[in-house]
């Protein structure tokens, strides 16, 4: 069985595993792991690459036709800075796709919902395909949808924490009511977390730390690829669920007899 492809802003992805490029011990290892992951959307921090250098170490290793680059604005603290960074990224990397990340707090890197909404609105008007990184906040997701983002990327748990889907209840609401794809981002620390997100009906997951800092990043990348596929396949095949037995009392429908 082949799982359904994912379409974001008119672009089709066969892999629902999105990856990041930070924290690898070398660019070569990153390249090997990302190739092993089967990922087709790879986020890269504008702050990490030297866009004036065509031979930049990271970018050089991402030059495969299957990789679609998703620059992110990691490091900015306001909407204004984000818009500026986005324009730089668009010019340098020749893509209007953008992972919008605004975290004024340097400790937990938690996204600022107010600035993110403001920036998203502006960037959509400027022609960007905006994928905002946000809290698992269902109302914020609807507000972002209304300003025209291409997908939403709610966090599963604090970024880099590897704690998995601590926001499960809110993710369920977001997935249940979203009109745009939902990509669970941040906190996914194990393939089982990724599979769980996919089983819930998330459209994709974004994984970075868990692959980059694994003992064997290439094997871990493959494990994530399999987990994401398995989770998606399970979702499409429709899971069997535990049966809740309703408590016995006098029948409610006896009046129909």
């Amino acid at each position: 069985m082949k799982t359904q492809p994912l379409i974001i802003a008119g672009r089709t992805f066969t892999s629902r595993l999105f990856t990041g490029t930070g924290k690898f011990s070398s660019a070569a290892l990153m390249e090997e792991a990302l190739l092993a992951s089967g990922s087709e959307l790879v986020t890269v921090a504008l702050k990490r690459v030297d866009v004036s250098d065509t031979n930049d170490d990271i970018l050089r290793h991402l030059g495969h036709p299957q990789f679609h680059l998703l620059p992110n604005t990691s490091g900015v603290r306001t909407a204004k800075e984000a818009v500026f960074a986005a324009q730089l990224a668009r010019e340098a990397l020749e893509t209007n796709w953008l992972k919008l990340e605004i975290h004024p707090d340097p400790k937990y890197l938690l996204p600022d919902p107010v600035e993110t909404l403001k920036a998203a609105e502006e960037l959509v008007k400027l022609g960007f395909v905006v994928l905002p990184y946000i809290h698992a906040d269902p109302v914020l997701c609807k507000r972002l949808e209304e300003v025209g983002v291409a997908a939403v990327m709610p966090l599963g748990s604090p970024i880099g924490s590897n704690k998995g889907l601590l926001t499960r209840d809110f993710l369920e609401i977001i997935i249940g009511q979203s009109k745009v794809p939902v990509v669970v981002d941040a906190g996914i620390g194990a393939p089982s977390h990724a599979a769980a997100a996919m089983e819930m009906g998330a459209d994709a997951v974004l994984v970075n730390t868990a692959i980059a800092v694994a003992g064997q990043p290439v094997h871990m990348a493959q494990a994530f690829q399999m987990a994401v596929e398995a989770g998606r396949m399970a979702y499409e095949a429709r899971l069997a669920v535990p049966v809740a037995h309703a408590e016995a009392s006098s029948p409610l429908t006896a009046f129909l007899d």
Partner: protein, 373 residues
């Protein structure tokens, strides 16, 4: 953006076939699922779900209590006019019926309102036929102004209007609009609505989108059972609701379940929907959607209504008259359809209490709506 492309992507016969093909295993999966999809809903309204009715009813009761507590809201219709330029094969107000037509004046509206106030009502549903000359948007606006100071929540069940017209009526005090598609079967819709503005299927289908864009607080959907296969029609209603909730996410939604009732010059229902089937449908909607309000009118019998409020219903009418002036001005004029439950609002409130629920007369305040102009 509108519901239309989604509607057009679904073929009536295919939808119907897929509902009737559902199996017991599909129903069991739907019952056990933590969140149910539209496919699960199909299983729950399918013939395969009939043996699971008691289980559905228990779940529906639990979910309704979780969201709404032990309360039932009360509302009452206020018929303002029986003039109508349309021919609808099932309605007593249809243009081809030779009945005396009348439209209430502001003074008469207030007379009617006094009776409803005395009964304790705060939620009133204004109803008219479709006669744009006499009961167009100017008349409706005036009626809202007349009633606004006296009631907490005003709903309207009249002809579909343009977006700008809704934008005009909302600040005048309009809180909720009910607009039933009657049937989503496009070809047969024409047969039931041969003449008048209502024969424009698409204008009606697009109405919830116009309401959503205009920013209405609540809207009610539904079909008229008796015209077409109720299962297929109900699936389309669920599909419509799903789209609307995602799109106009700040709006509240309610569903109603009118079954064809005897009326002057009425055709015989093409399909009969039994009590058992209606219970199945109500429970299926609740299992699909924990938040939607489910409403039942006095079209139904006392026994049915007494029992159904424990199964998922959240609002109910009582004491209803379906003729303009029926409460005070002209009690003997011809009604739109016969009602089945003749009990007074007080009796209904007592019945609700005996079932272990609180009758809620007021659940809104004008202070929460856009300021009346």
């Amino acid at each position: 953006m509108s519901f239309r492309p989604i509607f057009e992507a679904h073929n009536w016969d295919d939808v119907k076939a897929s509902i009737y093909a559902k199996t017991a295993a599909d129903v069991e999966r739907a019952l056990a699922a933590p969140r149910r999809t539209l496919e699960d809903f199909k299983a729950l309204i399918s013939p395969a779900a009939v043996p699971y009715l008691e289980q559905m009813a228990r779940l529906s009761q639990q979910l309704t209590r979780k969201r709404f507590g032990n309360t039932v809201q009360l509302y009452v219709p206020l018929y303002l006019s029986n003039e109508c330029q349309n021919i609808c094969t099932y309605c007593g107000f249809s243009l081809d019926n030779k009945i005396r037509r009348r439209t209430l004046s502001s003074v008469e509206i207030l007379q009617e309102a006094q009776v409803l106030k005395a009964w304790g009502y705060e939620h009133v549903l204004l109803v008219t036929g479709e006669a744009n000359q006499t009961v167009g948007v100017d008349y409706l606006e005036k009626a809202l102004h007349t009633l606004r100071p006296h009631f907490a929540h005003l709903s309207m069940e009249v002809q579909p209007l343009d977006e700008e017209e809704y934008e005009r009526l909302i600040p005048a005090g309009l809180n909720t609009v009910l607009v039933y598609q009657e049937t989503y079967h496009q070809q047969d819709y024409k047969k039931h609505h041969p003449k008048g503005k209502k024969s424009n299927f698409h204008y009606r289908l697009d109405t919830p989108d116009r309401l959503g864009r205009a920013g209405i607080h609540k809207m009610g959907l539904g079909v008229l059972f008796g015209l077409e296969d109720w299962r297929t029609d109900s699936f389309y209603t669920a599909l419509h609701l799903d789209y609307l909730e995602r799109t106009y996410w700040q709006t509240k939604y309610s569903l109603s379940f009118p079954r064809l009732r005897p009326a002057e010059g009425l055709l015989q229902p093409k399909v009969e929907m039994s009590d058992r089937e209606l219970v199945q449908l109500i429970c299926a909607y609740r299992l699909l959607n924990e938040e939607v309000e489910l409403s039942i009118s006095t079209r139904e019998t006392p026994t049915f209504r007494d029992n159904i409020i424990r199964l998922g219903i959240t609002s109910i009418s009582a004491g209803s008259k379906t003729n303009p002036g029926g409460y005070a001005v002209a009690p003997e004029s011809l009604e739109q359809f016969e009602i089945s439950d003749e009990r007074t609002p007080k009796e209904i409130a007592g019945m609700i209490r005996r079932q272990g629920y609180e009758p809620v007369w007021k659940d809104w305040d004008t202070a929460l709506a856009p300021a009346p102009i």
